[in-house]
């Protein structure tokens, strides 16, 4: 009996790695190796064709921070985060709150708010580029406004925020609406019996119960805001006047257009550190919550 167990254990050990092999291969090739390489190379001088020329110390970082375009991209990214994260949270929470009670017709607004999931990044970017194409745009014509759209610095940032919200809206809405619907109805009923209604019921009972999900959407928004680059490639190419050149768009152009290895590696290393930091804060917070 005992003997059988040990062989089984031994056997399952090899087997486990067999099952894990594909996952480990992919993770090693496309996550661990490139991250490590970026971090190590950020302290080296590497020429355009990838040859290591020597130890660079902090030179790559110094060069990065002395580039006015990078400093500008930091400002742009911070502005974007400051505008996008609250706006996105507010709008998605508003949509979920307005439709949180199921009714006979609620499938209509639900579907409308689900729909953005099906529209791709490039489709939304192309659409926004046309809808906000300038002072003469279909939207201005419709509303009688004079919004400059993507032709002015402030306008382009605003359009980018709107585009960002559209890209995140569907998924956030699904998460939030499901959280609302998962609230134990007896709790709401009990609160209602106690005389809580309307705003008080919403703010004091329901919102606290979906707080964790709201937090998830905030973190997702933060992550997307830090990493945004692809929509910019289609929408504005960083312009006008570098007003939408975010950190990751700067990374993209430096790495692929300018072939600037040193700056690219230094920036990658910084973003990896930042991502790790944010995720650590998030998971620690979650852990503390769960332990309580």
């Amino acid at each position: 009996m005992r003997e059988k167990k040990t062989t089984k254990k031994y056997h399952s050990q090899n087997k486990a790695y067999l099952y894990l092999l594909p996952a480990i291969t992919v993770a090693a090739l496309f996550y661990w190796y490139p991250s490590l390489k970026s971090i190590v190379e950020s302290f080296l001088t590497v020429n355009q064709s990838g040859k290591i020329l020597g130890f660079a110390g902090l030179d790559n970082y110094r060069r990065l921070f002395s580039d006015p375009a990078f400093i500008n991209s930091l400002k742009v990214s911070l502005t974007f985060i400051a505008l996008f994260v609250p706006a996105n949270t507010f709008i998605t929470l508003l949509a979920a709150s307005l439709t949180r009670r199921p009714s006979r017709l609620s499938f209509i607004p639900e579907y409308i708010f689900f729909a953005p999931v099906a529209v791709s990044l490039s489709a939304y970017s192309l659409l926004m580029r046309d809808i906000f194409r300038g002072q003469a745009s279909v939207l201005n014509n419709l509303l009688g406004t004079t919004f400059s759209g993507i032709t002015s610095a402030a306008g382009a940032m605003a359009v980018l925020v709107v585009l960002g919200i559209f890209l995140d809206f569907g998924l956030d809405y699904i998460l939030l609406i499901c959280a609302f619907r998962s609230i134990d109805s007896s709790v709401v009923e009990a609160a209602r019996m106690d005389g809580a209604g309307g705003w008080r019921l919403y703010w004091l009972v329901e919102v606290p119960m979906i707080k964790d999900t709201v937090l998830v959407t905030v973190f997702l928004a933060l992550k997307d805001a830090i990493l945004i680059s692809a929509p910019i490639i289609i929408l504005t190419e960083g312009g006008p006047f570098r007003s939408t050149e975010t950190v990751m768009f700067y990374y993209y152009t430096e790495a692929f257009r300018s072939g600037n290895r040193g700056v690219q590696n230094a920036l990658a290393a910084l973003v990896l550190t930042l991502a790790a930091l944010i995720m650590t804060i998030y998971t620690t917070y979650k852990k503390i919550k769960e332990e309580r």
Partner: protein, 431 residues
């Protein structure tokens, strides 16, 4: 369930050969030449038809097949080329513009036109000099163009106006053609757009007969080491003149969608490359398009117009590539290309062919660009600067700041230091 999964697995396995697909369509006897290009819209169709023509005639005879691939705008092509350098994906030929010159001059993968041995005796002198560095001819001028002043001819005629000769004239004309509603909102701009590297190479280059923005002949002779438009005062002169247009109050500072604003009649004039001529004539709504040579900065700016537009950079050294390049710059092909797009023929023989002469007679607008180029100083040249796209945006920002009130000397100094630091960074990295 189990069955479905097994079926799925078999399906997947049968698909696996497809995974390796992509390079499989090669025929051993035919030499494949891949061209990446940036011709957009109807220009793209014209380019494709030229390639198709090649494949059906010369290509068929000599067993060469050309595949033309659109890769986005000129800067997207540069991104792709830089990323593909050192991989098997690098094309044989890529269509890029002056912004690629610095990178390509340093690239170990570039094959110069001299090395290929392409006959360039018939090519426009200014076109050749715009792509010549200390290494020789980097790229073959193909889609050459000149900056043009596009205007709403119907509107100008109705007001008794003609195309302006100088920037000061431009300001006067803009004040007459602009329109505001009762709230003071601009409903029709007299002029739209902010100049940048491309326009400035002409606005600065034409001053005092000929001027350069950077030393070493705008960077052509061994790369630029600094900007010289400050000490020569040329940028300042331009800015002070340009301010006059802005001060009319009928100037729109938009930098994107300017073509659409013009073709829809919401802007009366703008500056654009002659390569947009065919597209603009076709999409102008309810008015006749007029074009003229770029206005002069002042009476001393007599240099004319800098040749601009793109050229073909080669990355493979073989006879097939040479054949394709020679085909593309032949007199007849250049005529077709010019007629379909508005680009200026780079082959001097083209101007003597009967068919092209007849075409110009029918379409006089197409001759404005070539006339202004042929009468310009051929030593004026485009700007080769590292981080060209960064500089491009910097100029727009810089000019906008000036128009919004920054002092002119501060403006010029700022731009000088931006360019000088870009040059310094580049030289440090490529010692």
């Amino acid at each position: 369930m189990k069955k479905t999964i097994i079926t799925a697995l078999i399906l997947l396995l049968s698909l696996l050969p497809v995974l390796a697909m992509g390079n499989s369509e090669k025929n051993s006897e035919v030499t494949e030449v891949v061209i990446w290009h940036s011709a957009q819209g109807s220009n793209s169709d014209v380019f494709d038809s030229l390639i198709e023509e090649f494949n059906n005639t010369v290509g068929k005879d000599q067993n060469i097949h050309v595949e033309s691939i659109y890769q986005g705008k000129a800067n997207d092509v540069l991104t792709k080329v830089n990323a593909a350098s050192g991989t098997s994906s690098l094309p044989d030929i890529a269509m890029m513009d002056a912004t690629a010159a610095t990178d390509m001059n340093a690239s170990e993968y570039l094959v110069t036109i001299d090395a290929l041995g392409v006959d360039t005796s018939k090519i426009l002198e200014s076109g050749l000099s715009s792509y010549t560095s200390e290494k020789g001819l980097l790229a073959l001028p193909f889609n050459a163009s000149a900056l043009l002043y596009y205007y709403n001819k119907t509107l100008y005629d109705s007001l008794g106006l003609t195309a302006p000769r100088t920037i000061a004239d431009m300001a006067y004309v803009a004040s007459k053609t602009g329109l505001k509603d009762s709230n003071g909102k601009l409903t029709r701009a007299g002029f739209i757009g902010i100049p940048t590297t491309f326009e400035l190479s002409t606005f600065i280059g034409a001053q005092n007969g000929i001027s350069f923005m950077l030393d070493n002949r705008n960077g052509h002779d061994g790369g630029a080491t600094k900007a010289i438009f400050k000490e020569e005062g040329t940028y300042k002169t331009f800015l002070q003149e340009w301010k006059k247009v802005f001060d009319t109050g009928f100037y729109s500072t938009a930098t994107s969608g300017t073509t659409e604003e013009f073709t829809s009649g919401r802007a009366a004039a703008f500056l654009a490359s002659s390569s947009k001529l065919a597209t603009i004539i076709n999409s102008a709504e309810g008015f006749e398009v007029g074009v003229a040579a770029v206005p002069m900065v002042n009476e001393n700016a007599t240099g004319g117009t800098v040749i601009s537009g793109g050229a073909l950079f080669a990355f493979t050294d073989n006879s097939a590539v040479k054949t394709v390049l020679e085909y593309l710059i032949s007199a007849d092909v250049q005529a077709l290309w010019s007629e379909g797009t508005g680009y200026v023929p780079v082959n001097t023989d083209t101007y003597n062919t009967e068919s092209y002469k007849a075409f110009l007679k029918e379409n006089p607008l197409y001759s404005v660009a070539s006339d202004s180029l042929l009468s310009s100083n051929p030593n004026m040249t485009n700007v080769w600067v590292p981080s060209a796209y960064s500089i491009y945006y910097s100029f727009q920002t810089n000019i906008l700041n000036f128009l919004n009130g920054t002092d002119v000397d501060t403006t010029v100094s700022e731009m000088e230091s931006i360019i000088n630091s870009a040059i310094k960074t580049y030289r440090d990295q490529n010692k």
